[in-house]
Amino acid sequence: MASNNAAVEREERLKSALWYSIGQFVDEKSLDSDLNATPQFIGALTELVYTQIANTARDLEVFSKHAGRKTINTDDVMLLGRRNEGLDRILEKELEEIRSAEGRRADGQPVARAQPAVAAGKKRGRPVGNGKAKAKA
């Protein structure tokens, strides 16, 4: 009971934090477009976003477990955009950017984490499956 209460309270506090961030965002954007938002709207939007994040977390967890991993990597996140082409493309662009930023940091070596298969494969020759998939992503 006590732990249950604590969990509920933690969720409430996280929701409050999210409410604040979303409220700021909505207020800022509404000012730009000469609009306004009722507090109820912001509350409802917070609830929607919170649920979406919770679902996303569970999706990601299941994706990475399906791949036999205990760590979520970018491949799992890319699956989030599978139902929406536009979203998929945005995420792909973002992924490229993240990879190039990390690549620079790691002295031009492709990112250590996300694609060890490619890094290892390049030294040895051409990996058949992995290289193709990663090169495209």
Partner: protein, 179 residues
């Protein structure tokens, strides 16, 4: 059409889910693009700029608007020094895209709280990508509400310029299907 639907299940699924929002998307992303473009440019944040411009191309194909903004700014800063600051004031939303809608530490916490397995971990790159995803979700929700508001104002609803919960209720199902 029906026979095609019956045979190509995958195509059918992709189609209806993605195509219907397009009319919704197109108007909603127009304003987004106009806002985003200057937003990305002004703070001179290369990361944000590079990240957003491709997105705009994909979603709204509003390259012309972007270019106009570019030229407008260049001309202003070269010829009229007084005008340049005024424009900056006019677009105070600039930091919005440089700094995420949902702060990253909060998002990380929210994700970790919702994992069933407490040992689950997430890579930094993946975390950034999720951040982008959530930001797109929130932005899209807001822009669609805005459209919904405009539409219902046209139909003779309340015209006080206040986004209502009802607007969100109308768009939520499609939004969730799209994400």
């Amino acid at each position: 059409m029906p026979p095609k639907n019956a045979t190509a299940n995958a195509a059918r699924r992709k189609g209806p889910q993605f195509n219907p929002p397009r009319p919704v998307n197109a108007p909603s992303q127009g304003p987004a693009a106009t806002k985003r473009a200057p937003a990305a440019k002004k703070p001179n944040a290369p990361a944000a700029k590079a990240g957003l411009q491709p997105a705009i191309e994909i979603l709204a194909s509003s390259d012309e608007e972007e270019e106009e903004d570019d030229f407008g700014q260049d001309v202003d800063s070269d010829d009229l020094m007084d005008e340049a600051p005024a424009r900056n004031d006019a677009a105070p939303a600039t930091p919005e895209l440089a700094e995420p809608v949902v702060p990253r530490p909060l998002l990380a916490r929210l994700l970790l709280e919702n994992f069933d397995d407490p040992d689950m971990q997430i890579q930094t790159g993946a975390m950034k990508l999720v951040g982008k995803y959530v930001d797109i979700f929130v932005t899209e929700a807001f822009l669609r509400s805005k459209d919904e508001r405009k539409a219902s104002a046209k139909e003779g609803g309340i015209v006080d310029g206040f986004l209502q919960v009802e607007d969100l209720e109308k768009l939520a199902p499609q939004l969730v299907l799209d994400f």
